[in-house]
């Protein structure tokens, strides 16, 4: 996807209103946005599967730390936040109150839009990174992702994030 494509869409409609009304972010991401992302990830990686749940592998903590890191692509960071706001707007701020069936319906409807499908794809990629990257990055808690898929990272493992000295 070309950056300018989703950034162009980002500037339309209710998003700009939400930008003005969003809570003051903690470390760049508001509680509401954090909770929306967490809810989406928990829907994608539910409890009760043989794959670790989003809660178990700390998907949202990983996502927040990763996207707020200075090395993370600034446009994608903005996109992740704006896409969560757009979902909230579409669902009249009720997404967090939905049950599983309602969340499935809302997310599949969001996926029908080009913007929504790009955003969900980005959340999925961040989640998979959290599931299978080295636990050093804050996800893959207790190597649950590796264990579930009978794999592991290579040796030697990193001792610092992003090859920092």
């Amino acid at each position: 996807m070309k950056r300018r494509w989703f950034l162009g869409l980002c500037a339309v409609g209710s998003v700009s209103v939400l930008c003005a009304s969003a809570q003051k972010p903690k470390a760049g991401i508001s509680n509401e946005i954090y909770n929306v992302i967490a809810a989406v990830q928990q829907h994608m990686f539910p409890v009760g599967s043989s794959i670790p749940s989003a809660i178990a592998f700390r998907a949202t903590q990983f996502t927040a730390e990763t996207m707020m890191h200075p090395t993370y692509d600034k446009d994608i960071r903005k996109f992740v936040i704006e896409g969560a706001k757009e979902l909230q707007s579409r669902e009249k701020h009720q997404f967090l109150n939905y049950d599983t069936r309602q969340r499935e319906k809302a997310l599949r409807a969001y996926e029908e839009t080009g913007y929504g499908s790009g955003w969900l794809d980005r959340i999925m990629l961040l989640s998979l990174e959290g599931l299978l990257s080295d636990p050093l990055y804050g996800g893959n808690s207790r190597e649950l992702g590796w264990k579930a898929l009978q794999t592991k990272g290579g040796d030697p493992r990193p001792t610092s994030r992003y090859v920092q000295s």
């Binding site: 950056r3 994608m44 090395t71 299978l132 898929l149 290579g154 040796d155």
Partner: protein, 563 residues
């Protein structure tokens, strides 16, 4: 600006390291300028997030980028060239900006070019729309240096008789092949049933210790990662480390070269900027060796235009930046599943780390529609890269819908637990054309204030035809092995890490940038050591030829410095 160096080498990748090593061994003082930092052997890890999914060892694309021009078809057969900066597409054309360059990150599957690759025009004739020329040197000029690379870099392999295997001056490799997964028995059997000859792939990976470099420990994560044992024959391990040991090499990291300065006849200095402090300085030497990777070397010379050389240094021919080529063709894949696997155990297939180590040269020349001989290509077979995140990411779609929940769980388990994919990569000639080149983008500059490189990328239709024919034969091998979901993909989208051309060498100064020793026709103390010199690329990955040619021209440079 005191001259203390015999030579300044710009870039520390395969060619820069090889030239610097030879000059230092001969007693000359060399400064090597590398825009990235040094990552030592013991600092490398198999960190997928850092090395494969982020710009940890390449520049941030908002700071430094390229503009890519691609042809977009329009209605009624009309089309247009569309340019996209890589910060928009996220399609980075940087490759390992660290000491040792992208040779740190290579898979190390190396091949010599065939003697016919040095005389492609004479052997196979002209093709309309392609700027094919013979090389000014022959395979016999290069062979001693191919052999020297085997020794210095440490290439493991096995000499094998095959009609398309180039002749060798040494009876066998100094290192035996790396260890192989049992799946090769299935591969070899399937090839033989199809009357195809499987060959052991030469690999720039040590199977035995060599000096202070330890043999491969089969980490399961080789390509795209630096090597933690020193087994991989990177420029850093094979050349820069030993060159530093001579006391003659000064390695300057975080040092980006903005431009070269010259008078009418000679390069006089380089203007550098420290990438951390922003401090600029000038350095000088007797000779200057540019080894910044093909598209960046041409850009540097174009950005160095001055009153004496208004079209760029070494560009009296007007050929600078033209005839860019890539090492590409196509690829394909199939999966061996536990439920249908025959001949070897599933546990053996799933054993981590061991290589497939097989290539096929049978189709290096192929028959055309009218029975004429056409240049074909070689094929490498390997396991799909074992990166966990990227393998998982491939499972995330069912049609156009994202999988999640139960669907995703089942897809992940099938991918990770129930089979293993084998991949093939086809390398055939990327014919040089008028529509594949690097120029300066007059509208866009990098963070150092220099125009960025604009790469127009276009493949010749002949290349796609050749690759398509070979892909079908490769699919047949995978199917014979019992692989499922076999597919192949042929396209003119280039691999950005395998680039050559742009400063082609030749004996005629009117039609080439460099002479046969990769010395500028216009400025005799200017050399281009990287793959820029290649007027055609052969049907192989370029690295062995880059190493060999750098050693070859180093001999010439040494002779010049000794005058």
């Amino acid at each position: 600006m005191k001259q203390v160096y015999d030579a300044i080498v710009i870039g520390s990748g395969a060619s820069g390291g090889a030239v610097a090593h030879q000059l230092c061994q001969a007693g000359f003082k060399v400064a090597m300028l590398e825009k990235g930092r040094l990552i030592r052997r013991e600092e490398f890890s198999k960190d997928e997030l850092a090395y494969c999914r982020r710009d940890s060892v390449t520049p941030n694309l908002f700071d430094e980028y390229h503009t890519i021009e691609e042809w977009e078809e329009g209605e009624g057969g009309k089309g247009k060239w569309v340019e996209t900066p890589t910060y928009e597409s996220n399609w980075s054309f940087w490759n390992g900006n660290i000491v040792g360059g992208s040779s740190n990150l290579m898979s190390g599957m190396l091949h010599r070019m065939h003697p016919d690759d040095f005389r492609l025009l004479t052997k196979y004739g002209a093709i309309e729309g392609a700027n094919i020329v013979d090389w000014p040197i022959t395979y016999s000029d290069m062979e001693p240096y191919y052999a020297l690379v085997e020794e210095l870099v440490g290439i493991s392999g096995k000499a094998q008789a095959h009609s398309f295997e180039p002749p060798r001056s040494k009876p066998d490799f100094t290192q035996p092949p790396t260890s192989e997964n049992q799946v090769v028995t299935l591969f070899d059997k399937s090839c033989k049933a199809l009357k195809v000859t499987p060959l052991v792939t030469p690999r720039a990976v040590l199977s035995r210790d060599k000096g202070n470099r330890k043999a491969c420990y089969y980490s399961n994560f080789c390509g795209s990662y630096g090597c933690s044992s020193g087994a991989k024959g990177s420029s850093r391990e094979a050349f820069i480390g030993p060159a530093l040991g001579t006391g003659n090499l000064t390695l300057l990291t975080n040092t980006h070269v903005k431009r070269l300065e010259s008078d009418k006849d000679r390069v006089t200095s380089v203007v550098t900027v420290n990438t951390v402090t922003g401090e600029e300085q000038k350095m000088t030497a007797r000779i200057f060796v540019v080894a910044a990777q093909a598209h960046e070397s041409a850009r540097l010379l174009l950005n160095s235009a001055n009153d004496y050389h208004p079209d760029g240094l070494g560009n009296s021919s007007g050929e600078l930046g033209k005839n860019l080529i890539f090492s590409a063709g196509g690829s394909g894949q199939g999966v061996l599943r536990q439920k249908s696997l025959k001949g070897i155990s599933f546990d053996a297939l799933m054993q981590r780390g061991l290589f497939i180590n097989r290539s096929v040269l049978d189709w290096y020349a192929i028959d055309g529609k009218r029975g004429e001989k056409m240049k074909g290509g070689l094929v490498e077979f390997m396991f799909e890269h074992q990166n966990n995140i990227s393998r998982a990411a491939k499972t995330r779609y069912s049609g156009e819908k994202l999988r999640w929940g139960k669907d995703l769980e089942e897809a992940l388990k099938e991918t990770f637990l129930e089979g293993k994919s084998i991949r093939f990569e086809i390398f055939n000639d990327w014919l040089p054309t008028d529509n594949c080149f690097v120029a300066l983008d007059k509208k866009r500059k990098d963070k150092y204030g220099m125009p960025v490189g604009k790469l127009r990328i276009n493949g010749h239709s002949h290349d796609l035809k050749v690759a398509s024919g070979i892909a079908g034969k490769c699919e047949a091998i995978l199917q014979k092995m019992g692989a499922e979901e076999v597919y192949s993909f042929v396209s003119a989208v280039p691999p950005q890490n395998l680039v050559a051309g742009g400063c082609r060498f030749g004996d005629d100064p009117k039609h080439s940038v460099l002479n046969r020793n990769c010395q500028s026709h216009d400025l005799p103390n200017l050399y281009i050591a990287d793959a820029s010199f290649m007027p055609t690329g052969g049907s192989t990955p370029y690295t062995w030829t880059i190493y060999a040619n750098a050693l070859r021209i180093a001999d010439y440079i040494i002779a010049e410095l000794q005058k």
